[in-house]
Structures are given as structure tokens and as C-alpha cells.
Amino acid sequence: MVRRMRKIRSLVLLSMISIVLLIGGCATAPDVDERERISSPEPSTQSIGVSEPDDLKAEKLQARELLLEDSESEVGSDGAASSVDGVHEKLERQSDDMERLD
């Protein structure tokens, strides 16, 4: 009877230890594999030195105009600026002082 009790007690103890280890292991595990943290490079457009036909040039010019004009369509109906591009940096400011110019 005593043997049985001891066996049960040691089993309970073992399972408790394994649960504690399991929880501890989960808490210290890294969220993301380091190898996954490789940022993709910014695409760059380089001219390739080949002369373009006129219609292609016109298309490029049109696309450029669209790129320059599309800021206006990004302003919402209430006039609020979208900050989806993630570059709208907010700096901590104590007050709206004038900055000096160099």
C-alpha cells in the first residue's frame, strides 16, 4: 500500500516538474527565427543605356505625371493625411519652439 502511494506521489511530482519545464521552455523560446529577419532590399531602377521608342517614352512621361499627381488623391475626404507608408515620423516635442537655421 505504502509502495503504491509512493509510486503515485513520484508520478505526480514528475508530471508537475515536466509541466513547469514545458511552461518555462515556451516562455524563453524566440518569437521569430533569426534567419527570417532578412529585410528585402529596396528596388532600384537603373537606365540600361538602350534608346527607347517614342511611344514608350510618352508612356513613361505619363506614368511620371501620375506619380507626381497621386499625392492629391491620397488626401482623404476629410483632408486627413494617410500615414500608411510608415515614414511619418513623430518626434517627441516639449513645445512648438522655432528651430534654428544653420
Binding site: 529596396e42 528596388p43 532600384s44 531602377t45 537603373q46 537606365s47 511620371r64 506619380l67 507626381l68 499625392s71 492629391e72 488626401v75 476629410d78 483632408g79 486627413a80 493625411a81 507608408d85 515614414v87 511619418h88 515620423e89 513623430k90 518626434l91 516635442r93 516639449q94 513645445s95 512648438d96 519652439d97 522655432m98 528651430e99 534654428r100 537655421l101 544653420d102
Partner: protein, 313 residues
């Protein structure tokens, strides 16, 4: 501080600088170049923060096209001081700044060259200028009054030296933009020395603003370089402080003409707060830039845009 946004606009404003030419010039400076879309977006958006590569390339191009009239050694010293001042980890920073100040004061007395004297006083003015918020926020009024006056004196000496230099016909004159910057710094000393809540009632600010002809000078500068949104924003600020409705509208339209984003008073351009957050703009917001007025400006701009589209068609 001249932003990348301003530099791109200033470069683009030059005769013959089409976008193709601009991109070719960039390619000459760097093998990697800049993505076309990135360049356009920095041209359009006053809130965009440039990455190091873009900033370096645009600075290089700008310096080539618009060389700084001051000696490179003193410009670098100024940059060194800016880094020292903004460094939060530097132990004994104030002592090092005091040592630099001591050196600059001695050097300014030894110099003969007017532009070098001007730049040394400019840097001495910057050192005093940067102490103003600390003394103001801690209520150290005697030190505040002293450092404000010293900063103003240094900037004034800098202006006088440039003006004296420009009177020599044999030497290349320093452009008006540098004189504008030094005078802007003097006004900034007056403004920053006063806590925000008291600025609209401060006699020193109002008197200097009127005596210096700052509003008219700002309008002149904006006529030549309409992309300088910081000048338009400061013009709006001071027009609001002196409660001038006509000028508030003038500077607001200057901002909106540059970017429609300014139609929202909550818009935050790079390194600046929203107009709606600045106490200096309260009078303008309450009395001029009302929601009805903003809506009417928006409609007017849309109609203007539609008119242009019809003309194109």
C-alpha cells in the same frame, strides 16, 4: 535646417533640370542611384523622412549646385557641435561645450576674414540659442535673459559681417537666404525665450517682429522659393500671434498650394507638430482657419484642379 524636401525642390527649380536630367545627375554621383518613385514621393510629401543614402546623395548634389559661402572647416565645426549637443550619452557635455565656446570666442577676435568672423559668431549664437529652452523651462530667468541677449548679439554680429562682406564688389556676395536664416534665428531667440502661453502678449516679440519686417521678408523669400514650407508655417505662426487675418490667409494658402495635406490642421510635416497642436496658432484657428473656411479653400482648389484638367483635355 534645410530639409531634403527643400533641397530636391531647389535642385529641380534650376533651368534645364527635368526629371530625366535629375536622375542622370544622381546616377553620376552613385552607382546605386535612387529609385524614381522614392525621389518623386520625397518631392511631393513634406512629412517624408529620407533614408541615409538618399540624404547623402541629395546633399552632395545640392552642395555641388549651391556651394556654401562659408569655409568648410567652420561648417564641419558647426556639424561637430550639432552632434555634440544632440548626443544624450556624452558625459560632461556642458563642460566640453564651454571649452569649445572659449576657443570660438578667442578665434573670432583673431580673425580678419569677414565670412569666417560671421560663421564663428553664428556658431557662438547657436550655442547660446540651445541653452534657452533649458533656462526657460526651469524658471532660471536671469540666465535666460543673459543667454537670449548673447545669442541675439552673436547673430547680429554675424549679419553685420555678411553685410560688410557684401559691400566689397570684388568678392562674391553671400545670398540673401543666409541673411534671412540669421535674422530668423534672432526672431527665434525672442520667441523661444517666452513660454508658449504668454507669446501672443509678449511686447519684445511683437516689437521685434514689427521692427525686423519679418513677415514681408518671409513673403519675399516664399515668392522666390515657394517650397519652403517652414517659412510659410512660421509666417502663419507670427501672423496668428499679431492677429492679422490677411497674413494668416496668405501663409495658409502658401502651405496648401505646396501640399494639400496642409488642409488638415492635424497634418504633421517632418520634425514639426500639427498646426492644431501649437498654441501659437490658436488665434488663427479660432478666427480664420475655421471649418467653413477650410471647406471653401478645399472646394476652390478642387475647382482649380478641374479647370486645369479641362484645359488639358
Amino acid at each position: 535646417m534645410t530639409t531634403v524636401f527643400n533641397k530636391i525642390h531647389r535642385l529641380k527649380q534650376q533651368p534645364g533640370w527635368t526629371w530625366d536630367h535629375f536622375l542622370t545627375e544622381i546616377d553620376k554621383c552613385s552607382v546605386a542611384g535612387i529609385d524614381e518613385k522614392t525621389l518623386y514621393s520625397h518631392y511631393r510629401e513634406p512629412h517624408k523622412k529620407p533614408n541615409g543614402h538618399l540624404e547623402k546623395l541629395i546633399n552632395q548634389l545640392h552642395d555641388d549646385c549651391f556651394p556654401n559661402p562659408f569655409s568648410e572647416d567652420l561648417n564641419r565645426l558647426m556639424r561637430l557641435y550639432n552632434h555634440l549637443f544632440s548626443c544624450k550619452k556624452h558625459i560632461g557635455k556642458e563642460k566640453d561645450i564651454q571649452d569649445l565656446e572659449f576657443f570660438l570666442q578667442h578665434q573670432s577676435q583673431r580673425e580678419d576674414d569677414l565670412l569666417r568672423i560671421s560663421r564663428l559668431h553664428w556658431l557662438l549664437g547657436n550655442i547660446e540659442f540651445d541653452r534657452i529652452p533649458l533656462y526657460r523651462d526651469n524658471g532660471m530667468l536671469d540666465q535666460l535673459a543673459l543667454c537670449k541677449q548673447q545669442a541675439i548679439n552673436h547673430y547680429q554680429k554675424s549679419v553685420s559681417a555678411i553685410e560688410a562682406h557684401n559691400q566689397h564688389p570684388a568678392q562674391a556676395a553671400v545670398g540673401t537666404s543666409h541673411l534671412y536664416k540669421a535674422r530668423h534665428n534672432i526672431l527665434a531667440c525672442y520667441l523661444n525665450a517666452v513660454p508658449q502661453a504668454s507669446r501672443s502678449k509678449d511686447a519684445d516679440i511683437i516689437n521685434y517682429l514689427k521692427a525686423s519686417n519679418y513677415i514681408a521678408m518671409s513673403k519675399q523669400t516664399l515668392d522666390a522659393e515657394p517650397f519652403q514650407w517652414t517659412i510659410a508655417r512660421n509666417g502663419l505662426r507670427f501672423s496668428s500671434l499679431i492677429e492679422n487675418e490677411v497674413d494668416v490667409k496668405w501663409f495658409f494658402m502658401a502651405l496648401v498650394s505646396l501640399s494639400r495635406r496642409f488642409l488638415s490642421l492635424d497634418y504633421e510635416p517632418l520634425n514639426h507638430g500639427a498646426i492644431s497642436d501649437g498654441e501659437d496658432f490658436h488665434w488663427a484657428i479660432d478666427n480664420v482657419l475655421t471649418s467653413d473656411y477650410l471647406a471653401s479653400v478645399k472646394v476652390a482648389i478642387q475647382e482649380k484642379g478641374n479647370g486645369k484638367a479641362h484645359e488639358k483635355n
